[in-house]
């Protein structure tokens, strides 16, 4: 064993092949680009999280004592813009997807490696613009950039921030384009569509949304910027322009964007649940097609963000029904994960804890989404903390849990090291508890009528707000912990072997960390996806080691 480990340490792989800043900034290796994304996304996550903590601190007391109203507007806007566009949307696809898509299909790289690098530079350029806007005037439009406030009234750096988000959009488009072409054209011999890991199905569906949705918000933001900078009048009500048109165009992307956030995490959960149940995933085709179903139906529900904005009742009814419909494929996934657990040999490793967290929190977020799809209830809770709690259950409870679960699951492959398991479980538990303490009180607050986006509130709401703020500090600890022990494990972690979870899937058939071109020779796939019935149980593997 000792000799095997020392050989692994000396073996050339993608991390030690070249050193130096140039070898990273000019790399076209999808694995290195994934790590570039990992570093930059983590950076933005903590900036966005910092704003969130300031928001929660302000809401600790009913009076507006920590910040002024204007500052508060900027805080929640920058929190939203950074978390949505610079963390949640790219998190799983750009880090785990970039790393895993070629590995899972047995390819040497994505189809367009240089475009892949370009996508990271788009992300960075957009990020720098937004950060600069943040430091020189900020942004107070809400992450939604609603007109005519953003075009005519806001005194903040709307043009710069809008351009930043616009440029960042190309990073999404280029990543999605790369994934689709790669999955279509570069699968290893024998890897048919029906043998594709569900992670890839969900990334395929995500890419479709990225490609069809992102250009629409791109042109919408361009029109906003042109209106503000050059006095075009497309959304200007004083000239007959229609702000509702802006809202339609905005949500045409921004609702499907929620599925850009959640679908990749669903793919992660599918991989984890089946691996740690040692069972083939229940209803493979249904889970795969549910991803496509979510992507398709997700494009026809956008106006449920606008029920109170002034729409015809008939349009509202149709969008309400369609919003109910999108719950069907989501429910199929949840039920199938549950059925996969049934009679499985379940082990509670860290990734599995995150997957459980995902299933529970996503279910809560999804069910409260149905409340909001109902026209009557939506009118009552529109723009209250109920909505805030709902989408945080989906985006943070869903996306971030999946992202962290995936990071733990594939960390041995990415770094070649094992993270400390007991710390991992502890962090997963802290995140779950902290999350619920932060956001569950907000459901109640919203239902009682506390509106979102205010820096003050009536004193009777204080107890629930204190609970929420307390939870957010616990959540922050839970998010800091993995970053600390991941960094620690890069140097001191135990060396991982090629397949520490004894998992199915091509990415585990190469070495950890993989060589620059992924596989010594192109693999030939002769087995079905998730053939866990043919693999030994996880405990047996552990004992052998």
């Amino acid at each position: 064993m000792a000799t095997a480990v020392s050989i692994a340490a000396e073996r050339e792989h993608y991390l030690n092949k070249e050193y130096g800043i140039r070898s990273w900034l000019l790399t076209t290796d999808h694995k290195r680009i994934a790590l570039l994304y990992l570093a930059s996304i983590t950076f933005f996550f903590f900036i966005g999280g910092f704003f969130a903590l300031l928001i929660r601190l302000e809401l600790l007391t009913p009076a507006g004592d920590l910040v002024q109203a204007d500052t508060y507007n900027k805080l929640f806007t920058m929190h939203g813009v950074i978390m949505v566009f610079f963390f949640l949307i790219p998190a799983v696809p750009a880090v785990l997807g970039n790393f895993l898509v070629p590995l899972m299909i047995g390819a040497r790289d994505l189809a367009f490696p240089k475009i892949n690098l370009l996508s990271w530079y788009c992300y960075i350029a957009g990020g720098i613009l937004v950060l600069h806007a943040m430091l020189t005037g900020g942004l107070d439009t809400g992450w939604t950039f609603y007109t005519p406030f953003s075009t005519a009234f806001s005194n903040t750096a709307v043009v710069e921030a809008g351009l930043g988000v616009f440029i960042n959009g190309f990073s999404s488009i280029l990543t999605g384009l790369n994934f689709i072409v790669t999955i279509h054209r570069m699968r290893a011999p024998g890897l048919t569509w029906s043998r594709l890991p569900l992670f890839l199905w969900s990334h395929y569906a995500t890419s479709v949304i990225m490609l069809l949705g992102t250009p629409v918000i791109a042109i919408t933001l361009v029109l906003v910027v042109l209106e503000r900078a050059f006095h075009l009048g497309i959304f200007d009500p004083t000239r007959g322009g229609d702000p509702l048109l802006f809202q339609h165009l905005f949500w045409f992307y921004s609702h499907p964007a929620v599925y850009i956030m959640i679908l990749p995490s669903m793919g992660v959960v599918s991989e984890i649940v089946t691996c740690f149940s040692r069972k083939r995933v229940f209803g493979y085709y249904f889970v795969a097609m549910a991803s496509i179903g979510i992507a398709v139906i997700g494009f026809f529900v956008w106006a449920h963000h606008m029920f109170v904005a002034g729409m015809s009742l008939y349009a509202a009814l149709i969008f309400s029904i369609l919003s109910y419909l999108v719950a069907v494929p989501s429910a199929i996934k949840v039920f199938n994960w549950t059925a996969t657990l049934y009679k499985g040999s379940v082990s509670f490793s860290t990734p599995m804890l995150y997957a459980f967290g995902f299933i529970g929190l996503f279910t809560m977020g999804g069910l409260t989404g149905l409340f909001l799809a109902a026209l009557g209830i939506d009118v009552h809770v529109t723009d209250t903390y109920f909505v805030v709690a709902h989408f945080h259950y989906i985006m943070v409870g869903g996306t971030v849990m999946g992202y962290l679960g995936g990071m733990h699951y594939w960390w041995p492959k990415i770094s070649g090291r094992l993270y400390p398991e007991s710390w991992g479980r502890l962090a997963a538990l802290i995140v779950f508890l902290g999350f619920n303490l932060t956001f569950f009180p907000q459901f109640i607050l919203g239902y009682l009528g506390m509106p979102r986006r205010y820096w003050q509130y009536p004193p009777e709401f204080q107890v629930l707000n204190v609970l929420s703020t307390a939870g957010s500090t616990i959540l922050a600890v839970g998010y800091l912990l993995p970053m600390v022990y991941f960094l620690w494990s890069m140097r001191y972690g135990k060396l991982a072997d090629d397949n520490p979870w004894n998992a199915a899937g091509l990415e585990w058939k190469t070495t950890s960390p993989p060589p620059t071109f992924n596989f010594e020779e192109t693999p030939v796939v002769t087995w079905e996806a998730y053939n866990y019935n043919e693999l030994p149980a996880l405990e047996e593997v552990r004992v052998e080691r």
């Binding site: 050339e12 092949k17 790369n178 069809l212 629409v216 029109l223 209106e227 200007d236 165009l249």
Partner: protein, 231 residues
């Protein structure tokens, strides 16, 4: 063992990148990539076409009046120029397939020239808008012909806002296209393309045709809304 056991036979194929198995796979990937990108472009322009559709339905009178002030003969000539450029692009792909280098370079240069003529004419038209006070903003003024139904100044600005946004975005795509064809021409001049490898000519051609088609829609939508004689 080495990390990059590229079979020797492949390394001698010019233009084949290391991560593709063969030329066929590489060509398929490139052309699929460009088609998908063009799909995103349709969605990009689609946002403006949607806005156009909505406002044209609401404010037909202003759109028709605004449309009549556009310079029809010049717009028509420009359309013809662009169609000619698409012809030279199509022929250049054929020339690349046949491996005729000088013909290829000539056709590519012609394409660039047509593109530049189009942009020059467009610049002239934009300039007209400035002198006629048809640029949205504080100095906007729409002088109405006596025979027309009363024209609302604000709604007329929406027409010209869309005119500038749509033709501006189209012109930006033309400029990028001219840049791409500059690179392609240089590569062709250096003899980089062979009958076996000329994918860049093909996919750049796809992009050019797309930008051309966008104009084929823009021209009637902006110039030909209502040209019936009035009075």
């Amino acid at each position: 063992m080495s990390d990059s056991p590229a079979p020797l036979a492949l390394e001698h194929t010019p233009g084949l990148q290391h991560h593709f198995a063969d030329m066929e796979q590489q060509r398929n990937a490139s052309s699929l990539g460009m088609w998908i990108f063009l799909g995103t472009e349709i969605m990009f322009f689609g946002g403006m076409f949607l806005a156009y559709l909505v406002y044209r339905m609401w404010y037909f009178n202003e759109f028709a009046a605004g449309s009549r002030t556009l310079n029809l003969p010049i717009g028509a000539v420009n359309t013809a120029v662009l169609i000619c450029s698409s012809l030279t692009v199509a022929l250049s792909v054929r020339a690349a397939q046949l491996g005729k280098r000088m013909l290829l370079v000539t056709l590519l240069v012609l394409t660039i020239l047509f593109g530049l003529v189009f942009l020059g004419v467009k610049a002239y038209e934009w300039n007209e808008k400035f002198t006629e006070h048809h640029v949205p903003g504080y100095s906007f003024h729409f002088k109405q012909e006596s025979t027309e139904k009363p024209v609302d100044q604000g709604r007329a600005q929406i027409f010209f806002s869309l005119y500038f946004a749509m033709t501006g975005m189209h012109a930006l795509h033309m400029i990028i296209g001219v840049g791409i064809f500059g690179v392609i021409t240089w590569m062709a001049w250096r003899g980089r393309f062979t009958p076996e490898y000329h994918t860049p000519v093909e996919i750049a051609g796809l992009y050019w045709h797309f930008v051309d088609i966008v104009w084929i829609y823009l021209f009637p939508l902006l110039y030909l809304i209502d040209r019936r004689p009035h009075g």
